[in-house]
Amino acid sequence: MKPAQTRYRRPHPGTQPDYNYPPYASTQKRCPTQPLIVPPQTLSEITGPIFGHDDIKPTDNDLTRQHNGEPIGERIIVSGRVLDENSRPVPHTLVEIWQANAAGRYPHKTDQHNAPLDPNFSGAGRTMTDAEGRYRFITIRPGEYPWRNHYNAWRPAHIHFSLFGPAFLTRMVTQMYFPGDPLLPYDPMYNCIANEAARARLIGVFDWENTIPEQALGYRFDIVLRGREETPMEKMP
C-alpha cells in the first residue's frame, strides 16, 4: 500500500535554523552531534494529532480578559492566516501562544528579571484557525527583557507561536517579532535564519485594516507550514 499523497517538502536552503548555532550559547550542549537520519515519510509522520473546539474555550484567544482587571500595556490585535507551502489555508488547526507582560516579565518561577509581574496578565492564549486558516488574538504588546546569552543581551519583543497543522511533519514552534524593533540586529534567535527574506517574515506587519479605532493596534502575522510536493497528477481545487 503506497501513500495516496505526495511527500512533504524538504526545507528550502537557508530558511530554517541549524541545531548547532554558536551565537545562541545554549545550543552547544543540546544540539545533536551525530548526523540526523533521513528516513522515508511513513503513515506515522504524515498523520498527527487533531484538536477541536472542545479542547479550548471560545475566550482563550483574548489574553486581556483572563483576570478580574485589565492588564497593563498597549492592547494589540494579532491576526493572520496559516497557510501551507502551496498557499492553501490550513483550516481548523490549533494555535498556541505565550508571551511576556508589558514590562518584559513572565509569570514563571525561573524568570528572575527585576520587572513587575502583572496580576491581570498570564500571557498564554490559544485558538483554532477557521475554515480559511484565519486566527485572531487580543493581547498586549510584550516588553523586551534581558537574558544572559552574551554581554548586555536583550530579547526583542516577541510572541511565541506553536502550531500543529495536519501532520507530525507540520509541527512548528516560532516567534513573532514587531516591526522596527532596534534589538533585532543583535538577537541570535532572530538571526539564526540565514535567508534574509525568510528572517524578515518572522516580523509582524502593522495592520491598519484590523486596527480598532480608539482601542487597539493591529499586527498581521501569516504563518506557513510545511506543504506537500506538487505533481502534475495532483487534482487542483
Binding site: M1, K2, Q5, Y8, P11, Q16, P17, Y19, Y21, Y24, S26, T27, K29, R30, C31, P32, T33, Q34, L36, I37, V38, P39, P40, T42, L43, S44, E45, T47, P49, I50, D84, E85, N86, E96, I97, W98, P107, H108, T110, D111, A124, R126, H160, P166, F168, L169, R171, M172, V173, T174, Q175, M189, I193, A198, R199, R201, V224, L225, G227, E230
Partner: protein, 187 residues
C-alpha cells in the same frame, strides 16, 4: 504559487506558560484496549545534566495499528476517546513519565509493516527547531525488520528501544550528545 515554511524558533525557557495546559501523561484513557506501559526516562544534555526546561510530545496508533487521523484509511477500528497524543514537560532533573498502550503495527513504505513505535518530538530551551525521534518496544521481533530502524547505524539502534524495568514499566532516555546519543531523524 509556492511559499517557504516559516522559520522555526526555540520554545525558550518559559515554554510551560503556553504549553502546560495540554499536558497529557495518560495517552490511553480508561477503556482503551491494549497492553499498558508506564514509560519514564530523562532528557540529558551534553554535560550529562538533566534538561529541566524540555517538553516531549508523543504521537501513536492504537493497539490495532490505526491512527486517529483521516489519512489513515486502513479498515481498522478506532475507539471513542482515542486521540493518540501525549505531551509531558521534564521535571527539575530532566525526568519525564507517561502512560500509554503499545500500538499495533502500522504500514510502512511499500506496505511492509513497521514495528510498534511512538513518534516523538523533543522541544527545549537551547534548541532552535524541535527534534524528531522514535521509541520502539523491547522484546519485539518486528524491530529487526522495521524499515526505519534498519536505516539507523546498528550501533545506535539501541538508543531507540526502551528497556524493560518491570512487568509493565519501560525506561527510555533521550540523550542529546555523547557516546549514547539518541538517534534523531530528519523526515
Amino acid at each position: 504559487m509556492s511559499l517557504y515554511a516559516t522559520g522555526h524558533q526555540t520554545v525558550g525557557p518559559y515554554l510551560h506558560i503556553g504549553l502546560n495546559w495540554l499536558v497529557t501523561p495518560e495517552i490511553a484513557p480508561r477503556g482503551i484496549a491494549g497492553e499498558r506501559f508506564t514509560i519514564q526516562g530523562r532528557l540529558v544534555d551534553g554535560d550529562g545534566d538533566g534538561v529541566n526546561d524540555g517538553l516531549i510530545e508523543i504521537w501513536q496508533a492504537n493497539a490495532q495499528g490505526k491512527y486517529a487521523h483521516p489519512e489513515d484509511r486502513q479498515k481498522k477500528p478506532i475507539e471513542k476517546g482515542w486521540r493518540g497524543f501525549g505531551r509531558v514537560a521534564t521535571d527539575a532533573r530532566g525526568g519525564f513519565r507517561f502512560r500509554t498502550i503499545k500500538p499495533g503495527p502500522v504500514p510502512g513504505p511499500n506496505g511492509e509493516p513497521q514495528a510498534p513505535h511512538l513518534v516523538v518530538s523533543v522541544f527545549m530551551r537551547g534548541m532552535l527547531k524541535h527534534l524528531a525521534t522514535r521509541m520502539y518496544f523491547p522484546d519485539e521481533p518486528a524491530n529487526a525488520r522495521d524499515p526505519v530502524l534498519k536505516l539507523v547505524p546498528a550501533a545506535r539502534r539501541a538508543t531507540l528501544i526502551a528497556r524493560k524495568k518491570g512487568k509493565s514499566a519501560l525506561e527510555w532516555n533521550v540523550i542529546l550528545q555523547g557516546r549514547q546519543e539518541t538517534a534523531f531523524f530528519d523526515f
